[in-house]
Symmetry: C2
Subunit: 648 residues, 2 copies
């Protein structure tokens, strides 16, 4: 074993969220989104793309004669829904929902094959092709999501119904794949099984599951690559560039990878699992690779919203500093995977930068994926939208100018539901004698440390305001450190202990302010983060953003929308020396802070109708209204842009 220090996340059960911003969203998941998604999976949403996911399980169980319909990984939508629904049960008990889950679990059980195999597509459509298409077949991917659902369901309800089914399936997988002689030397083209097996190991303590996850990680990228010998691989390769091995992060052994490559969701799930394995086994070579991969992602391949993936084709990373705003992919699922990865990095190596990026993508590139009413979704989260281009240009084929009810490939909607429903577990990280505050989300948490209880009551109106109060109560009578993350966007902050501005107990380490003390009863920590409007520029190597600035406040990236600013947003510019009018309006977008500032608009009247003419300065003053990026597209359809030209 190693000297990798182990930190832990808190359990979902341990925190009741009370933050206005988040309570509303979690409640929306429980009361509206999870029922809505159940209807979608059952094809009961008028006008939405059909899912057929539940019907497919019926077919596999021999209880329906319909043909299979949908993606070959349609099962994973059901799995993610069960996971989300299970999380929601933790704080929103709902017998009707629990019954529905039980019912679908029984159905899944009936669809499971005698040997434990469980996949509706291969069972119904081509049972003879089981385990022949690892590159694109998604069998292990679906297995992974079902395992995650089983773990969540067990943790939420204590019921082993789904867990038993998935243990049987995992045992089956373990019996046919692995390093041992006579087993298949394989891994899945879409990572997910690896992190799921670690979760299954955590729940069952069965070491075989961890070993199998380790094996999948170690095998990945070894040469010669079995994927290239798959019957279907060559044909896919000929059809399209995106079958190259780097698409699957299989171009090199994972420990030799230094740049975030290929399909962005796949990459995030891989990196998450690599961190999980490193945490369990103390493998420092994995940790070292992850640090390089993080550096490359953070410094060269991440959108300001935390979105990942710069190209629609192959939904993938491209090259350093290639971050086009309008043709971005920035899939909601990649953002969610980024949260998973950052959570694991915090466990491997406490550093606020990981939580900064978790917060960045959570408040921007993920929340943008769901409408405020919870019934419409973005798969792709571009930073600039011109509806006419989205409609007419072929290279915008992957982009939508408005959220939709459902997708034929619906990975994102249940993914966002499971993340939001389980957001409580991302708030704190716990070390030997330190509790780290990673996210400022109000709530009551009961944390076990040294077999004693620590109660933290966090109160805040974050992200709209920068004031956070934490009330500490603990049975621990030794030194205990409360570490408060100072977000990267924050230049000025003030900490008080029991109402006294006090610096003698504070020091700063790895991006946290540490309050190290023996705690009396009901001590109150308050922190005031100065939360001014900031104008941000990108590295000048990002050619799409040269001469442009983005508006942020606190963790929120702002954008301008046509509905506030008129059409042709590219005609607008703003100067650096600006004053900002900040206002919380409860009627705006369900309650939001808007930012008004002075800007300029190219005066078209001065210029006439010509397409080209002698250049003149014709900027006229124009007021600009910016709203949080994640909330865009909840009013009228129209243009949107995060980056705005800088008037110099």
């Amino acid at each position: 074993m190693s000297d990798i220090k182990k930190y832990t996340s808190i359990d979902l059960k341990d925190t009741i969220i009370t933050s206005p911003f988040w309570e509303e969203r979690i409640k929306l998941m429980a009361e509206k989104v999870i029922p809505y998604q159940w209807d979608a999976l059952n094809d009961n949403i008028a006008g939405a793309e059909p899912s057929h996911a539940i019907e497919n399980i019926r077919i596999a169980a021999g209880e329906s004669k319909e043909p299979f319909h949908g993606m070959l990984f349609q099962d994973s939508d059901v799995a993610k829904w069960i996971e989300a629904a299970s999380y929601s049960l933790v704080h929103y008990p709902n017998q009707e929902l629990e019954n529905k889950i039980d019912e679908v679990i029984r159905l899944i059980g009936r669809a499971q094959q005698e040997d434990g195999y469980l996949n509706t597509y291969y069972t119904v459509v081509c049972p003879e092709k089981r385990w022949t298409n690892f590159a694109f077949g998604h069998e292990l991917y679906c297995a992974g999501h079902l395992i995650e659902a089983a773990v969540a369901h067990f943790n939420a309800t204590g019921k082993k119904s789904l867990l038993d089914i998935l243990c049987r399936y995992a045992d089956h997988i373990d019996s046919v794949m692995g390093p041992e002689e006579n087993k298949m030397k394989v891994y899945c083209g879409h990572e997910e099984i690896e992190l799921a097996l670690v979760r299954l190991y955590h729940t069952t303590k069965e070491a075989r599951y961890l070993k199998l996850a380790e094996y999948f990680i170690d095998e990945r990228g070894e040469q010669p690559c079995f994927l290239e010998n798959e019957a279907t691989y060559g044909s896919d390769l000929n059809k399209s560039r995106w079958s190259r091995l780097d698409y699957h992060q299989a171009h090199k052994p994972v420990r030799e990878q230094t740049e975030a490559e290929g399909h962005a969701v796949r990459a995030m799930y891989l990196y998450t699992a690599m961190a999980d394995i490193s945490l369990e086994t103390g493998d420092k070579t994995l940790k070292a690779a992850l640090e390089k991969l993080y550096h490359n992602t953070r410094q060269k391949r991440m959108y300001i919203t935390g979105g990942l993936g710069s190209q629609g084709h192959a939904e993938r990373f491209t090259f350093d500093y290639d971050l086009p705003n309008d043709t971005a992919y920035t899939e909601t699922c990649a953002g969610i995977g980024f949260v998973f990865w950052m959570q694991r990095m915090l466990l491997l190596d406490i550093n606020s930068k990981y939580a900064d990026d978790m917060e960045r993508v959570l408040y921007n590139g993920i929340l943008s994926g769901i409408s405020l009413d919870g019934t419409r979704y973005f798969y792709v989260n571009p930073l600039e939208v011109l509806p006419e281009a989205v409609e007419k240009r072929f290279d915008f084929d992957h982009v939508k100018a408005q959220r939709v009810q459902w997708f034929g490939c619906a990975c994102c909607p249940p993914n966002i539901a499971r993340l939001i429903s389980s957001i409580g577990q991302y708030i704190y990280t716990v070390g030997d004698d330190t509790i780290y505050t990673q996210l400022y989300i109000g709530g009551e948490s009961q944390i076990n440390l040294k077999d004693k209880k620590v109660s933290l009551i966090q109160t805040t109106n974050y992200p709209w305001e920068g004031h956070v109060k934490i009330q500490v109560n603990t049975e621990i009578k030794e030194t205990l450190t409360l570490a408060l993350r100072i977000p990267d966007w924050c230049g000025l902050y003030q900490v008080s202990i029991n109402g006294n501005d006090s610096t003698d107990l504070l020091y700063r380490e790895n991006g946290y302010v540490l309050i190290k003390k023996i705690w009396a009863e009901e001590e109150i920590i308050e922190i005031e983060f100065d939360m001014p409007v900031q104008l941000i520029q990108a590295n000048p190597k990002v050619r799409e953003n040269a001469g442009k600035i983005a508006i942020t406040r606190g963790p929120l990236v702002y954008c301008i929308e046509e509905t506030d600013n008129g059409s042709n947003l590219s005609a607008l510019s703003i100067a650096l020396d600006n004053k900002f009018n900040i206002e919380y309006d409860k009627n705006l977008l369900g309650g939001a802070v808007s930012i008004k500032l002075d800007g300029y608009r190219i005066d078209e009247k001065v210029l006439g109708d010509e397409l080209y003419r002698s250049a003149v300065d014709s900027d006229a003053p124009a007021q600009i209204v910016a709203v949080p990026y994640s909330m865009w597209g909840n009013r009228d359809s129209g243009e949107m842009s995060v980056w705005i030209r800088k008037k110099q």
Copy 2:
């Protein structure tokens, strides 16, 4: 008949080019490019994509047993080569070349079918499918190019060998297609046959050819559309958006079309033929449609280089003001078609704007398509290139960062050869008693007017200098007007007659200065166009160019290249109040005027390695060197950009 006034172009034979800029290029075509392209068509260029075009004819003639190879319209490459070679013979007699042409014509004759049909793909690969795929089969397209070759060959050599072959083919086509009962009611998915049939009519005076061209024009876009009933159409339609009827300009009757739609080359060849028919028949409804189509093209869908087509997929027009620089298509052939169309518009309705655009695309968007040594070609002529994006991004799949030796689909190289070799015919337009100077290209022209001779000797170093001298000699002793086009880029000019600055004889009409007089012997007209560097902006509705400027001088659009300005061109900006250092350097790019100016570069050192940070002004002075756009990519490979950020 109508009151559409008929103007005529001059014949290629009538002008010997002496302008340094153009003489060099025409000579290059005769001495190097045409022999090179012959080698390419015969697969004798090491490292180039194979053509197989000549071999295909041998196969069709039964003289080779190889399989057919290449595009189904490969014949058109040979046709355009014969056309180019024939033009070059006019002023560069070359017995060896003439023998080669005769040889290939005899081969074509042997490949012609008994009924006159002539197409190697359908003859060799699928004779049973003749005339079944008008949408994508390109049979009439190839026929059109062969007809153009036959006309050019006859005009250049007086030989009827190819003309007879193509008259037989045209007769065959006329016997199976047309408005009469029992004939096919069709037209070609790729326009070309229409303008070719008009040329054949001009040469043979056979009215049936004109009628057939008229029929094809009139039938196009009528509903219901036969294309949609073709066996292959639906499948193509399912595979890709680009099979929509507007791709073929078949979405509406041509007289109802108001916006430049679909595949840009197809559109240009259609509009050219519509103008031809309007000229011949006096059909004012066609002329009216063309004026709308021109307005839409010129005001909303044309790149500053004259390039046309904003999207790689379907090589097509998209929507108004959608003119992305890096993913532009701007096919060389579309630029050439634009010249054809503008030449015809000048015959329909003398107005300098048409010649302005002819000049714009000729000097910029067309000449960029060929390397200075004549052996490398661009198919796509983008206005901004980042080699790494071209290499790695899927949505740049159509772009190349460097010219190549040949293409699998090689429509552009022989097309540019035929245009440059025949440029002499675009210099003047002749009316009843007026000669219009459309292009400033030095040369000696003998023009027939009222059955009398007019000799014009034009001397100029255009486009490098704005001075033009025209020596007039004529037998005509009545009033004759010489009309000098005042280019749209020129704000100041001075005309002198026999050395005297004289304005009493001048007036301006439709963009021309008219010198109306009875001419003595050897009169000298001189015109001095002020040719300053100009900074141009695009209409602010062109979102890609908001806040950017382009550098032009005279007819030339300039660009900046990495080789002169370092990498990351997007970090550069220039101010409007600038001074320019203009220098003709005979060692630069085979002789060119470069423009040096003061600019700025974002200082990366000030900013550090972060991907996002608080915005600051960190522009540092940087000298900028611009070179003519058409000459870019003739030195080291690297970035290029036409549009540069404006420093305000």
